[in-house]
Amino acid sequence: MAIALAALGAPAVVLVRDPLKQIVLSGFYGWSLVILFVVLGAPDVALSMLVVGTVGYPLVVLVAIARIRSDKEEGDGE
């Protein structure tokens, strides 16, 4: 059921400590929420969550991770 998927997805996102793996899991969690929203009769909300969870969140977080890593390498190299 959609509720079980979301209930499993939330601790999965939280308990994984590495942000890179977390983003992938957060993508799946977002999709489980989309299914839940459709089941609850909210197609507008589901559309919103689908686009935001697939494009918005990963882009912003991946750029942050990449920038932190490259700054760290630069700092180590000095």
């Binding site: 509720i3 939330a10 400590r17 942000p19 929203f37 197609p43 909300v45 919103s48 969140y57 760290k72």
Partner: protein, 114 residues
């Protein structure tokens, strides 16, 4: 059965809060914050659900058929789009902290002074 969606919202909220408090990385913390926000979406939509109701869209559907509450959907959908910008703001702050302090561990940052 009838309490399950509310229990889900409470569970997701507590899980997200646990993640925020025990986080060792500011980016991980930002994602746990989005999980906590999503619990409010689930709660709002669960409140508005009507048994046997369809989505509140009446194109091609006879007027007067049971539909779920549209007001909570309006609140949630604007919220989801706004949460991206708030996440971006938090991550920009995290990037700034990393430039200043060289680390994104909240515990290490808290010990710095000045």
């Amino acid at each position: 059965m009838s309490f399950l969606p509310y229990a889900l919202a409470a569970w997701i909220c507590c899980v997200g809060l646990y993640g925020i408090v025990t986080s060792r990385n500011l980016v991980h913390l930002a994602l746990c914050l989005t999980v906590t926000q999503s619990s409010t979406y689930v709660l709002l939509l669960a409140i508005g659900y009507v048994q046997g109701g369809g989505p509140p869209i009446f194109k091609g559907v006879k007027l007067g058929t049971t539909a779920v509450d549209p007001v909570v959907q309006a609140l949630v959908l604007t919220d989801i789009v706004v949460s991206v910008t708030v996440l971006a703001l938090i991550l920009a702050l995290a990037l700034d902290v990393h430039k200043e302090a060289g680390t994104v561990d909240p515990d290490a940052i808290a010990e710095m002074s000045g």
